[in-house]
Symmetry: C2
Subunit: 876 residues, 2 copies
């Protein structure tokens, strides 16, 4: 059997080998093949990285052998040699995963230097200071990055040396100073590691390669992967490239370039460079880089070559490129190219421009914008430049994107009042409850200590498009004494707090926010997405305002109206409570009769906004105790208001207590116990549709959804209540009105018996929040307590409540789709869990043939784009 | 298409057609074919009953047609005719399901009587009093059973008549009195129903048939079916049979017979009869029946025929028969035969005797005993005769069988003390917690208001073999004021209460209990079961005492040792709490080190009892907050004991609070967060095995079980901790010790990804309690609040926590078996949920190829028998 190839020369690769060679490596190969001047080198594959982990963090002999082989070839073509006293080879070592991944290992430059080669270099460049400066930098970089000797120990030595010499800047140290510093650095290394600094360039190389592999699994990389849907199984490649130097004098230089403006998308090369400088100097900010236009004057020939390569790369990759280049003694080299990061606004403009320039088709352009990026176009944001200089004071889960800044406020009531008085406030709570809704509306943003990505605060905030950070467990909130404590400091009502809902960062200071601006490019681009996609996008909305917002964002219907949110409103909560404490059917019906006109009005409002778009209304879902207070004082007060005794109400509250409310008396179990609730809701749904038909002429076809079904007989029982009630009303009115009855698939047993369920259900809507809870056996409200341990130990890489678990939950969903279609081939299939607003989950829904996804209003554009991308990738 | 046959003459049926004709009908047919004298008749099938329901409670035209056809044939062969003035046909109408089912419709006798035929009958028998007495009984029976006119209204009229005539006994009324009473009865009927009493025998018949069909779904029948695993889809048949009269004078009589003694199993015909009497007189107890031996003297010919038929029926059916017979004017008729109900002791003796008599093979004999019946042999019981006269005062769920009687006790502590003082007490609680264990041990029985069949009280009581009734929601318990209120009366510490754990009945009085007695028949019979079965039976046991009990009952190993029960014991709970409140790893390890010797001792004790039988030990499972108190006073006290501040402990308790503890931080999630706990437990498991190996020479192969796994990486992580710890100890000891690492399959995702899980798991143990919770999405602690509505509405017929849901949960289990075997063909498969002690679930486990079931010690014999029966029914 032939041995697997783990190491590729640049000339052996190409752009399509990205999975194997990493993004950086594949592009170096591609540039090499395009004839662009690239310093020679080779790439160690991502498979070598995976093997490293499979073998218990050891580099296999075969891989070592291949590295040495390609090193030999590199020495041959360059005419240089590792450790040579005539012409020593120096290389850079870089990590490069399939996707660009900050948080992994930094570059190591100048590898190959030791006490001998540094002398050769000093002599060959005639610049001993440069040689020793490179050497001390290499020692520090290698020690820090590869051997985990803290950088600050080296910096302390550097500072001592400057003090000793009475100078302020590094550049003021001369060659001898640096030579002495190198000695001190090596002594430090020996003290820390118990062995000499490795002088053998081969040892330096192999240690560096292993360090790159290890950096794939450092904490920052793991967090980044989780936030960006990157599986740990991808691994990273390592590129090893001959050094070129931009600091060899005045004919040398280095710079970075974008083929278009990454902030605005303007079609104009955007590049900066510094002569006589190395890579890090350009970003370090000590000297101010020159605009590339200056190069035209300095060296027209190199400039022209540069422009031509930039253009060549952009048209080759059909996308805006982000490049690094170096000029060594008048000769231009490209060290890297990649599709450039850009703001959302720039991404849209570039995608639309590339289509007008006939570079891309619409289908190709659709893939050029990250769906999640659209968020920033719809929400206020912090000024990126201001943020750069700030360290977050705490971190929570990024529950709902956007930026918020205001004074701290601990109750909903206070938020409402202070907002009325013109103050901007941020609502800070241990956790929110339905009682807090008005305060959440009034606040700029919401911060909670407890709860996960699908906690009450998170779901409601996303629905409203409000910035929200949840589960910030490092903060201590004392609602009674009205303070929040972060890192030992207490902040109260007069202090500012700022939240970044896109990162989960919390700042205990005022940071100005920038309002979003939607351009014409957005509409053009989203129209293309709509032309392409086959998956419909609906919204989860519980009131006319949210529904209107969603329609504005392109929603094609409502996939989920949660009727319980309506039950909490001030004008009806008393009737709801009266219904709950009823002892008899008559009492309960009397209370329900009071709620009916409100529910009807709710539905009329929604139907009028949605016009003839489909509207799915879910029957009452939460356990009844959610509508009652739990503290004795509150019970006392309510009992007085209701004119009943404290004992009676207290007994009711206690009798409704549940050990595991998520798995308790809720969903259709309420309709089975109290059919009159489902009757009242059906009446409201149908009568509202009739009224809107009469007043506006809209043909409403309500989709009535029964939640939490686990057994066909259960659905049949509730469906019979619905159809009996609905048909009677329709008959009495003497007109035509169609309606559908379907169910949520959110209980594993419903998915397992979907063939049976489909006998009664005209549609399935996958409630993947609950389905995820039941399939994993963890409560979304409690998982926060242990999921961090799971991320840390790489057991889970993703929050399954944010990104659909395609392995387990997805298997149940697919099973239900197959079984459901077997019974009812044209069954309507949708998803209304939070996953309907997650790009990779939307793609999964497209692939398994759902008709629609439904998500919160502010996620509608994202889902429209994700659906279009899914169709481009996997036409159906 | 030929019409389906819905009605069969007795001569057209046979015993094998039980499903279609019901037990009673099939046996009447069989007896007819055997040439035994049976009054002629026909049977309306169970399919007709099902069609009745499918058609919305209407008897189909085709069925009516077939009834009339067979009625015609009956008239022809009997020479009698419905409503005939010469020779009127009178019939009885009886219900008869596939399984014998008390709770359904009573028999209707004398159907066919009306104002004309009663006169014919008076004349033909020369006994007008008999004719009118039959007529008034028929009116009353038909009104009550068929038309739902309350019986007591008729009884009131009868009482008035007796008062008017100045007599005491019904028999003192003469023919004219009864004739007048018939008129009053018919007037009452008209007043109640608004129409005349039906005089047309055909109308009487059809109404009666419909009433039998309806009685299939009355409340008592539904409850009986649920308790006895009878699906509602079976339906009932109806038999219509010509009347014969045992009350036609001194040459007539009626009686009941058993072919062996139903109480002891003694091989001796056991029969009683009364001359000149009708069926109900024998059981009514007004006249004392004669022993059958008396008949030999009265009428040797009939007696000999009787004995010969009884013997013929027993050897035909190869089982003890329960028969009804009538002698009409010297001619013997058999009206019914069926396999007789018998006590558990009788069942064993009869089964063993029938094998010695060469009537049955061992395999056939095995099927003759209901597994659930064995319970009564292992637990105390109430005297059946005493019970008969008592109405239960309340009813709960029959959580753990047996009978208990004692004075009421509201706390565990009190139970312990009063027991020490020689009192017998019953522990009455809202619900029990692990704190109550010692009180539960001290009590005769346990009654709780809350909780279901797998609540804490139920599981623990079954484990101990203690009588327990849970979820008795009609009782109000006030633990502070120490009373229990049932039906408006309060009972306190000095009152007696009696519990029947086999029915769930609660009596507010003292009832004597009878201790069980195990005979040699039990051992013989169970040995046969063991020879036959292939499914192994293990036990769930957490301590040496329960383990020893289970071994005595035939357990072949331990399928589940719950280590957390050990954590609660007084001598270690403080160390456990210390571990929980630890702030650092060091503190936690220090506390764990204190627990280690106790755990080790626990395991040594269990290994010594089990000798070399396999022992499966589950790592810590419950959420940590279960080990801490929750009330401020208790927290205060504990904080003082622990030498920490109230605030610190209170904060800890609050930080551990979970919304849905069942889906929270528990199971292997604890081991992932705090690997040191799993390390300590592994150390205890392995060191104990080594110690027992050294001291006793037993080769222990511990099976270490990781609970609540949902993802392969999670299992891998914990398995790595276990193997690292175990291998190190074994290596240090320098000896050979095998151990296995496996997992519970109790999270749906584990079942769905069982092929992956099996890569690491050497065995699967299905935790069907949790799997049922997650698959249905209901918490066993909360389901009680709504399951009654579900039973009432026939959505669920069974408690899925008592009987495995083969449709949904079973599908997941089968999927996991298939996937698991695909990866690891010889994977060991078992079940350790409560279902391991349920006969139908054991059969399911046999059928899908599990290696063993594991159940509480007192259920081991039951499961052994159920496993043997499964093998007889479905050889594998």
């Amino acid at each position: 059997m032939e041995n697997k190839k783990y190491v590729y020369l640049f000339s052996e690769g190409k752009a399509e080998m990205r999975d194997l060679l990493g993004g950086k490596g594949a592009n170096l190969a591609e540039m090499t093949n395009l004839g662009i001047p690239v310093p020679k080198g080779f790439i160690i594959t991502t498979e070598a990285c995976n093997k490293y982990y499979d073998d218990g963090e050891k580099i296999d002999e075969e891989i070592l052998k291949q590295i040495y082989e390609d090193l030999g070839k590199l020495e041959e073509v360059s005419g240089k040699k590792f450790g040579s006293l005539e012409n020593p080879l120096l290389v850079s070592v870089r990590s490069g995963a399939r996707a660009s991944m900050p948080g992994m290992m930094d570059t190591i430059l100048n590898l190959g230097l030791n006490d001998e080669t540094v002398e050769v270099m000093a002599e060959k460049t005639g610049n001993p200071r440069f040689a020793y400066d490179s050497y001390r930098r290499f020692i520090q970089m290698f020690s820090d990055v590869v051997m985990e000797v803290p950088k600050k120990l080296y910096e302390a030595l550097l500072d001592q040396m400057k003090e000793k010499r009475g100078v302020k800047l590094d550049t003021e140290l001369n060659a001898d100073d640096l030579k002495e510093l190198v000695k001190e650095f090596k002594d430090l290394y020996k003290k820390e590691k118990g062995e000499d600094f490795p002088s053998d360039p081969k040892v330096q190389l192999i240690e560096s390669v292993a360090a790159v592999f290890r950096s794939w699994n450092n904490d920052r990389a793991i967090v980044y992967r989780r936030l960006n849907d990157i599986p740990s199984s991808w691994g990273t490649a390592v590129s090893v490239q001959e050094m070129v130097f931009g600091n060899k004098g005045n004919t040398s230089g280095t710079g970075v370039a974008f083929s278009r403006n990454p902030a605005t998308g303007e079609k104009k090369i955007f590049a900066e460079y510094l002569m006589n400088a190395q890579g890090e100097d350009v970003v370090a900010g000590i000297r101010t880089p020159q605009d590339i236009s200056h190069l035209e004057k300095e060296n027209k020939e190199v400039y022209d070559e540069f422009i031509s390569i930039v253009n060549k790369l952009e048209s080759h990759y059909k996308d805006m490129q982000d490049m690094e280049f170096t000029i060594e003694e008048g000769k231009l080299y490209f060290l890297q190219t990649r599709n450039g990061k850009r703001t959302a606004a720039a991404a849209l403009k570039i995608a639309v421009d590339l289509v007008s320039e006939n570079v891309l088709t619409k289908e190709e352009a659709i893939l050029k914008v990250e769906p999640k990026q659209l968020d920033t176009l719809l929400h206020p944001a912090f000024d990126v430049e201001v943020l750069k200089s700030l360290i977050p004071d705490a971190k929570g889960l990024p529950a709902s994107p956007g930026a918020a800044c205001g004074k701290i406020c601990f109750t909903a009531k206070e938020a409402k009042e202070r907002k009325k008085n013109g103050e901007k406030v941020v609502l800070v709570r241990l956790e929110t409850s339905p009682d807090d809704i008005e305060g959440m509306v009034a606040a700029e943003g919401i911060l909670t200590v407890r709860g996960g990505m699908t906690s009450h605060a998170a779901v409601v905030a996303r629905g409203m498009g409000a910035c929200c950070v949840v589960g910030c467990s490092e903060a201590i909130v004392n609602e009674d004494e009205r303070y929040i404590e972060i890192k030992g400091t207490k902040y109260s009502s007069n202090d500012f707090i700022s939240l970044d809902g896109s990162t989960g960062n919390v700042y205990t200071r005022e940071i100005k926010t920038v309002e979003p601006e939607i351009t014409g490019y957005f509409d053009t681009f989203m129209n293309w997405a709509d032309e392409i996609r086959v998956l419909k996008v609906r919204t989860n909305a519980d009131n006319p305002k949210d529904s209107a917002q969603a329609v504005k964002f392109g929603a094609e219907g409502i996939g989920l109206t949660r009727t319980e949110h309506m039950f909490f409103e001030q004008d009806r909560i008393m009737a709801v409570r009266e219904m709950i404490v009823s002892d008899t059917l008559e009492q309960r019906k009397k209370a329900l009769a009071k709620i009916l006109p409100y529910q009807k009005k709710d539905f009329i409002g929604i139907y009028e906004v949605m016009q003839e778009r489909p509207v799915t209304i879910r029957l009452l879902d939460p356990p009844l105790h959610e509508f009652l207070p739990h503290l004795d004082e509150e019970i006392e007060e309510l009992a007085k208001d209701m004119g009943i005794t404290f004992e009676k109400l207290k007994n009711k509250v206690e009798s409704l207590h549940e050990f595991n409310p998520m798995m308790g008396h809720r969903g259709c179990r309420l309709a089975v116990s109290f059919p009159e609730i489902a009757e009242m809701q059906t009446q409201a749904i149908i009568e509202a549709a009739i009224e809107v038909k009469k007043s506006k002429g809209y043909n409403i076809v309500p989709e009535i959804m029964v939640p939490l079904v686990g057994e066909i007989k259960e659905l049949k029982y509730v469906k019979d209540i619905i159809t009996r009630t609905a048909d009677e009303i329709i008959k009495k009115e003497g007109l035509e009105l169609k309606y559908m009855v379907g169910t949520m698939i959110e209980i594993p047993r419903a998915a397992l018996t979907a063939d049976e369920i489909a006998k009664e259900a005209e549609f399935f809507s996958f409630g993947t929040n609950d389905l995820t809870q039941m399939t994993f056996g963890f409560s979304r409200d409690d998982a926060g307590n242990f999921l961090n341990y799971y991320y840390e130990k790489k057991i889970y890489e993703q929050d399954p409540f944010a990104k659909l678990d395609q392995v387990g939950v997805g298997k149940l969903v697919e099973m239900a789709v197959t079984l459901g279609k077997k019974t009812r081939p044209n069954i309507k299939l949708g998803i209304c869990g939070e996953h309907g607003g997650d790009p990779s989950s939307v793609e999964f829904c497209h692939n398994i043939g759902l008709n629609y996804v439904s998500c919160s209003p502010f996620r509608v554009p994202l889902s429209r784009l994700a659906a279009a991308q899914a169709q481009v990738k996997n036409r159906r």
